[in-house]
């Protein structure tokens, strides 16, 4: 019998076998404290990534130094070392845990990911959710195994454990229903996009004015605001979940939606001045580079300009 410590670490480092996973799930189900312990350690693991790069080196200088010593030259160039400054950082995962802990008195659990932070959540049935920055979910943990209902604001990818109990995600615009599968929902207040990554996903618009859609892998559904339109689309699997690694690909979005995403990813404040361009574009936001890179891409595409006001405040104009 392996101790739960090793199972937790195997799960976190993704080296767990299916048999061991079952044991771990049993252990987590057996006591809310256990589930809590697991979630805390997983959050710590995620947060600890902030320190992945401590030293920044100039590889051109380093190369010159290397070449010099190859040529047996005694003149060693000094190497320019800049210390890593200000990684984009998480805020309080603790908030989420404590909040969910004491909100459970009310049976309702709400987990909110802070700005510029991606957060993983494990549900009581071991289904997992990865929340994009500035997103939140609410569910009832008490009778989770009898009814798997979740409210979502923002964007998240769901990896749902198979069960006879349907897993239902509700947003302002749509209702997504699955049995056990993997899918991504983007609901940032600019209409919804539901993308099926595995298995089968059923989607209805909020008022059920249109026929529900059944999606298979590679298909998506778009529910425009106020039920104006509800239709099927093709999706790119890798790009859809690129946000988990910091590559956010937005297709057919307005400038306003792209800027809103940048604000959430970088915890920034962007003022969009002048006539609002309502055309739709495709954008790539790179969370791992400075915010200026993403703003430059957007401005180039849309022929706008941007300037820095101070800190993380920017101005976009014609």
């Amino acid at each position: 019998m392996k101790s739960h410590k090793q199972l937790i670490i195997k799960k976190i480092t993704q080296e767990i076998s299916p048999d061991e996973e079952l044991i771990l799930e049993e252990w987590m189900k057996s006591n809310p404290q256990n589930l809590n312990e697991f979630n805390e350690l997983l959050s710590t693991w995620n947060t600890s990534q902030r320190l992945d790069k401590t030293v920044i080196v100039n590889s051109e200088d380093a190369w010159n130094r290397f070449k010099n010593s190859l040529n047996q030259s005694s003149s060693r160039q000094s190497v320019n070392i800049k210390k890593w400054v200000a990684l984009p950082v998480a805020a309080s995962f603790l908030l989420a845990i404590l909040l969910s802990y004491f909100l459970s008195f009310d049976d309702q659990t709400t987990i909110q990911s802070p700005l510029n932070t991606i957060q993983s959540v494990v549900l009581p049935d071991s289904s997992t959710i990865v929340l994009n920055a500035g997103s939140s979910i609410t569910y009832t943990s008490k009778d989770w195994l009898d009814q798997r209902l979740i409210q979502l604001t923002g964007e998240a990818v769901f990896d749902v454990k198979k069960s006879e109990v349907p897993f239902v995600v509700t947003t302002e615009q749509s209702v997504t229903r699955v049995i056990g599968t993997k899918f991504n929902i983007r609901s940032r207040g600019f209409g919804d996009k539901i993308s099926c990554l595995e298995g089968i996903v059923d989607v209805a618009d909020m008022n059920e004015t249109n026929k529900p859609l059944r999606l298979v892998k590679g298909q998506g559904a778009i529910a425009e605001e106020n039920g104006e339109s509800f239709h099927q689309t093709e999706i790119d699997l890798t790009r859809t979940t690129g946000w988990i690694d910091g590559n956010i690909f937005l297709s057919n979005v307005t400038i306003a939606e792209a800027l809103d995403e940048i604000e959430k990813q970088f915890s920034a404040d962007i003022q969009y001045e002048g006539a609002q361009n309502q055309s739709e574009y495709n954008f790539h936001i790179d969370r791992n580079s400075p915010i200026e890179k993403s703003l430059t891409i957007i401005c180039k595409t849309t022929q706008l300009s941007f300037s820095k006001i101070d800190g993380k405040r920017f101005r976009i104009y014609d």
Binding site: I12, K53, T54, P88, A91
Partner: protein, 186 residues
């Protein structure tokens, strides 16, 4: 140097250098030593490039070599891993960055609290992406020990992160709210 060779080699160098220096730095705790070690690793690769047979990828060969050399370095010099030594203050930015800095420092000081081997195991797992088996092989310890040490490291880091002003504040509010809701039930 032949020019084609050099071009090819430079690509490999530039693609891996920064990552390897960070890997080595986490083990030896000195930027200067880490750079020396990594330069040396590339030097060996250059001299043996005709004869060396690399079974996996160049990247994992380099990583293995850098980790080995770094471990040898600390064994030889009997140095303790000390990341604190070169922790230089950075220019303060806007307020959010201060908070970010605080969090980063929390993680760093959490790492300082760990026993050297525990820190090493955790770094290899978290920042160098080695599997538990690879770490066990590399350090000559059992896989079970690796898992236990990562667990221990996460516990310490978790407590370190909780032990922040924000944490106390939230905890205080949470307790207060619980108290009030309990009172209102009476």
């Amino acid at each position: 140097m032949k020019e084609e060779d050099e071009l090819e080699f430079r690509k490999v160098f530039e693609a891996n250098y920064s990552h390897l220096v960070n890997t080595s730095y986490r083990i030896v705790g000195s930027v200067a030593a880490a750079e020396d070690i990594v330069q040396d690793v590339f030097m060996k690769l250059w001299h043996n490039r005709k004869t060396i047979s690399i079974h996996s990828s160049v990247k994992s060969y380099l990583q293995k070599a850098a980790i080995n050399s770094s471990l040898n370095y600390i064994r030889k010099s009997d140095r303790h891993l000390d990341l604190k030594a070169e922790h230089e203050p950075h220019v303060s930015g806007p307020e959010e960055e201060l908070y970010e800095k605080e969090l980063r420092e929390k993680i760093n000081s959490g790492l300082q609290k760990l026993a050297p081997q525990c820190r090493l195991v955790f770094s290899l797992s978290r920042y160098d992406g080695l599997t538990n088996t690879q770490i066990a092989d590399q350090l000559g310890i059992s896989k079970k020990t690796v898992e236990n040490q990562i667990y221990r490291a996460l516990q310490v880091l978790r407590d370190q992160l909780k032990n922040s002003k924000t944490g106390f504040f939230i905890l205080a509010i949470a307790l207060l709210t619980m108290l009030l809701s309990a009172l209102s039930q009476l």
